[in-house]
């Protein structure tokens, strides 16, 4: 058992927030989310935060822990190597209460790229086979794990200043759909990306890569889409090649 001070950003309906400190005793393997539950149960039942799965696959508990966006359920307090832990809501997104943010700006951008699959043959009953060695197979293996937690959107230096910017997660999803040989919404998606608030807004700060709890190289996805827009013929040839191996 070790004692920790949690400095938690509190905010209710008023526009001004405040900081509140809590002392908690934690076991070695306990996470930031465990600590938040402990505080809520034993010290202040009005503390608000979001969580669901507790195993890092739903993406609800993203928040800033010691100034970095992380999943509270995946952050063991001992790994932070600090006695005082600051917990704040995600940056850039509007705060609803305490650590709960409104994800609407994030999903507004997410919807812009048509994140779902638009297959050529909608009535087809056959299962598509994606060869693991194909360009799409290789990309999908490392880029499809996005849990839409918003950590990248919060860490990005561009989203805060430009509300219209798609953000790393949406561009990554668009890239996966564009590389998918089954998908048929190519030109529409490329048009959304080829915009001043699309991929060209990225200044390769790599903050999204640093923040992503799923270790997705989002900047790589953005750069791939920039190249696809610069060399459309090459990109289309590659797609066709994947389509008919």
């Amino acid at each position: 058992m070790a004692s920790f001070t949690f400095r938690i950003a509190r905010r209710d309906t008023s526009a001004v927030g405040r900081e509140q400190s809590f002392q908690v005793e934690l076991e070695d393997r306990m996470t930031v989310l465990d600590a938040l539950f402990l505080i809520q149960r034993e010290q202040d039942p009005t503390l608000s935060f979001r969580c669901s799965c507790r195993v890092g696959m739903c993406g609800s508990c993203a928040m800033r822990v010691n100034w970095q966006p992380r999943l509270a359920c995946q952050t063991r307090v001992a790994t932070l190597e600090a006695d005082t832990i600051t917990v704040e809501p995600l940056a850039t997104l509007p705060v609803l209460k305490d650590l709960v943010v409104d994800m609407e700006p994030f999903f507004r951008q997410w919807k812009k790229v048509s994140p779902t699959l638009h297959p050529r043959d909608k009535s087809s009953k056959t299962l598509a086979v994606v060869p693991p060695n194909s360009a799409f197979g290789k990309q999908a293996a490392v880029k499809r794990d996005c849990i839409t937690c918003g950590a990248c959107y919060s860490a990005c230096g561009m989203t805060g200043a430009n509300e219209g910017y798609l953000g790393p997660a949406a561009i990554n999803r668009a890239m996966l759909r564009l590389m998918d040989p089954r998908d048929d919404l190519v030109d529409e998606r490329l048009k959304v990306l080829n915009n001043v608030d699309g991929v060209w807004r990225c200044h390769t700060q790599f903050n999204c890569v640093a923040a992503c709890p799923k270790s997705i190289n989002l900047t790589d996805s953005i750069m791939k889409m920039k190249r696809a827009l610069l060399f459309p013929k090459k990109f289309h040839d590659k797609r066709n090649f994947v389509d008919n191996p």
Partner: protein, 130 residues
Amino acid sequence: MTSAISLTIRKYGWRYAGNVAFWVQRLTGLALVGYLILHIHTIRDLQNPKTFDEALHTFSKPLFKMGEIGLLATVILHALNGIRLTMVDLGVGLTKQRQMFWYFAIGVGAVLFLAGAIPMFIYGILNHHG
């Protein structure tokens, strides 16, 4: 407490190297714009040899020599990080951008800086005459 702060800074500097590099590029770029304005303004004085000589005399003072050493650091940082950014834009070494910043732009840059700054300091400032 000090160690906690230095630990945080070290961790941040590595994890968010891209962000540090972004601001280094912006700030050195602005400094270079400032230098270029002064530089071109002085060259315009070539029309009048007397004022040009006066300007050059001012620039040989230790304060400006120190500024020149600072300019060397700025140019090296901006150039090497610019090479890193170009490589990133070409899609080369996207997974090695942190190493490219700290080892290439800062590490190699520091060696180049010392190689230039030491002679500049000795001949420009220590052995400064008039």
